[in-house]
Symmetry: C2
């Protein structure tokens, strides 16, 4: 695992791409825009899934599965949804191939043309609400609290591993409620779940808020979001939770009989996070030595590397290493004992460092004599020699420290990259020279937002959830404003 990869300062974008590939997280495939998620990368995604899935279930949700394909006509049912989603997508037109007349390979069988084209789902509101129509008759059938783990496809022209790919993995929650209040409460609850996950598991601080109308989900009344700041000062939308009102219920005719015996349309929410979080995780903490993983999401938290020259040392060291491994596992710590014989300890050190293993233990003959072990932490690159006695509690404590340190470091970075500006000149200068989150006044119109975007590539990332009323003037038009919003350039 060589360190011959770009530094962040040299070329941040290249650094990210190199890191994802060289740390064995993912790679491009033979299919344009579709990635292969490699075992090490997938193991991190599995940790994310497990943590999120537990949080979904703890808040009363169940998983289900809906079809990959959506009839084309479904997209036209909800007017704004079709605008947002039915454009760049994979279209299935035929259901059969046949031997090529020239005897070389296969060709599409034109006799097997579908009557109605099928779209590979870019998101599942339409097919799910078409299904819910049969599940819902009365208030007794509500709420429906369902989540789906699935692949989706959006035909992106410019793709980047994890951050923007044609196919990606995600979860999409789709809930149905009897009242507007209940649906809004659900939308907000799931935003909190996402924020908690980002901060406690990914060690990544996030801002919470809602989107301006321009940036809303196609078909939503309100889109709530969490936004994180990457090390290059660009924002990344890390999760969204949508209050859909009765839009999809109306589009798919989903009504229920209320307790008061009145027929009404059902209220909806949807919410999702995707493998994009993998990109956020990489960019939030990693450095010029490679990946840095928070202990709670690392495929293994500790690696033990044995160091020996003589065979007799090997036996004794292996014995001690397995003893340590067992002690750590008893505390619920995940451990890899790297006893591969075809690689040197130095090679292993570099590899695990590059792949972001939070803690490395090295065990040599001298350690056996002294009852010690060398402990290296990935986040600070610090090393110390510890007594093996009670090692499981020491390491557990250290892992907690690392998790906390990563969060604090990211928080400090964000604080230092958060700016309040009041004039257009200051805004443009800050964007170009400092980047980061910029709190500024905005006149509340879509036109102004669009013009700011065209001139600076910055967008309103969110309108803060907790309003801090403050009179001011729009940085672009000078018109009055009562609240600052958060601008940034973004992924």
């Amino acid at each position: 695992m060589a360190k011959n990869f770009t530094t962040r300062e040299d070329n941040y974008s290249q650094w990210y791409n190199d890191l994802v590939i060289k740390a064995d997280l993912a790679e491009n495939s033979a299919v344009r825009g579709c990635m292969v998620i490699k075992p090490y990368g997938y193991a991190i995604w599995e940790k994310m899934q497990a943590a999120l899935d537990k949080m979904f279930k703890d808040t009363g949700h169940s998983n289900a599965y809906f079809p990959l394909f959506i009839p084309k006509s479904f997209f036209s049912r909800e007017a704004s949804h079709v605008e947002g989603f039915a454009k760049e997508c994979a279209v299935v037109t035929h259901y059969r191939l046949k031997a090529s007349p020239d005897g070389k390979g296969v060709v599409v069988d034109e006799d097997a043309k579908l009557e109605e084209e099928l779209i590979v789902r870019p998101t599942s509101e339409t097919i799910i609400w078409d299904t819910y129509r049969n599940w819902i008759q009365s208030y007794r059938d509500l709420p429906i609290l369902v989540n789906q783990w699935a692949n989706v496809v959006r035909w992106e022209m410019r793709t980047r591993l994890f951050l923007r790919t044609a196919e990606f993995l995600w979860q999409e929650g789709h809930t149905a409620h009897a009242t507007s209040e209940e649906a809004i409460a659900e939308t907000q609850q799931m935003l909190e779940v996402y924020a908690t996950f980002a901060e406690e598991f990914m060690a990544m601080p996030v801002l919470k808020g809602f989107k301006s109308p321009n940036e809303r989900f196609a078909g939503a009344i309100e889109t709530y979001c969490i936004e994180a700041l990457m090390q290059d000062g660009k924002a990344l939308q890390a999760g969204t939770s949508h209050f859909l009102g009765q839009n999809f219920a109306k589009a798919f005719d989903v009504k229920f009989l209320s307790k008061e015996n009145k027929l009404d349309y059902v209220w909806a929410t949807s919410w999702g996070v995707s493998t994009r979080l993998m990109g956020a995780l990489v960019m939030a903490h990693s450095d010029d030595n490679g990946l840095v993983l928070p202990p709670k999401l690392a495929p293994f938290q500790v690696v033990i590397v044995p160091i020996y020259k003589k065979d007799e040392d090997k036996i004794r060291i292996t014995e001690k290493a397995l003893e340590i491994k067992k002690a750590l596992i008893s505390k619920g710590i995940s451990v890899k004992f790297d006893d591969r014989e075809s690689y040197t300890p130095g090679y292993k050190f570099n590899e695990h460092e590059f792949r972001g293993v939070p803690v490395r233990l090295a065990l040599g003959p001298r350690d056996l004599e002294n009852g010690t072990v060398e402990v290296a932490r990935r986040d600070t690159m610090e090393k110390e020699v510890l007594q093996i006695q009670d090692i499981e509690n020491k390491i557990q404590h250290l892992l907690d420290q690392i998790q906390d340190n990563l969060y604090q470091k990211a928080l400090t970075f964000r604080d230092n990259s958060t700016h309040y500006v009041d004039t257009w000149e200051e805004f443009v200068k800050t964007l170009d020279e400092k980047a980061g989150f910029i709190y500024a006044h905005w006149d509340g119109t879509a036109e102004t937002e669009q013009k700011i975007k065209e001139e600076t590539k910055a967008t309103i990332r969110l309108i803060p959830l907790i309003e801090k009323k403050e009179d001011g003037k729009c940085i672009y038009t000078g018109k009055p404003s009562t609240q600052r919003v958060v601008f940034a350039r973004s992924y």
Copy 2:
């Protein structure tokens, strides 16, 4: 949950379909051949996934993810694979829709035609071996032990929920090895994993063997399989494990440098089970009262139903029920306390019986006085009144008993439905009157197998793994044979 559904005797096929739909396992969707897996059904699938995933990881495998789409040309690379898979499949030809000229909805944008069509994966050997080419240089990179949980699409004309659907969920293991012996050992190991899973978790006895050439996976040298017997005497293939030789390595040019410094093609296996197992599970144990679930795969193993009329009773009963729930959970038993107020105890009894909850506890005022609880087991429909004291151990024991009883019952059924026949008349008669597994002699030719299939719809389900050499004559041609094979009609 009414019992107004078909009995097995009346119409087995209808019974199955009614059961799947009325027990809330799955339903048909708006997309032909694609099903919706409902929360209760998906919860069973999640239990299956968890158990299998652990077994895969315990045998050294990691999960990864490969693209949903496969370039059309990939299928032509492996000659027999294209025959088997590149026919009935979903073909993506375009990547964009546009507003319809008549202003109504959206139409395919003919300007957005793909240069090469993409096939929605029916199985992933081709795209994975195209990827492995870059992962493998030397023997040090081997073995690769990777599994993928994914959706796949095969354009089936006649579909049945779980048993045969256009889209289904599955796992597909794809491994790469330095030697033929190692790959064969892997193939056999995974067959054992599947058999263990079927018997220990699904409580479903299976036969192990390998397929005749006719029934082999397209591209395999040898296909191993497990076969289970359903209650209507038809066989169901429950899992397959393929030794692929060097076929895919040759098709995708995947070579490695051996320890001896020689360049050779890599050896491959693939193995998979799918949501088809859900159909097998339903058919293996369920009865005319509804679903019967083995405790190890039930979404919840125990349901507690409170019975009261007065509010004061409700409080005391709820308290006791929660106490019991806590005691059961402490033993790792999953419990639902069904305290819904809008349904009567009778309705709840029926619903949980129909949905196959293994154990039901009913708790009324009289029970509180006596320190008792009524315990009903779903498999035998027996009820008894037990002292609440030590209830967690009693129920744990009962769940073990139920799991074992279901297996024994299915085994007895299979034993009684297994026949040895030596003549064609006997064969045809047994098939029509008794069905089940038929051990008979076969001359070993594809022609004879094909003719038997055409005349009787029976196929060779497998050639037993443990050879029992026995001289005999082919039931169809009278030619000599040295071993009986297993015939059956099948799903």
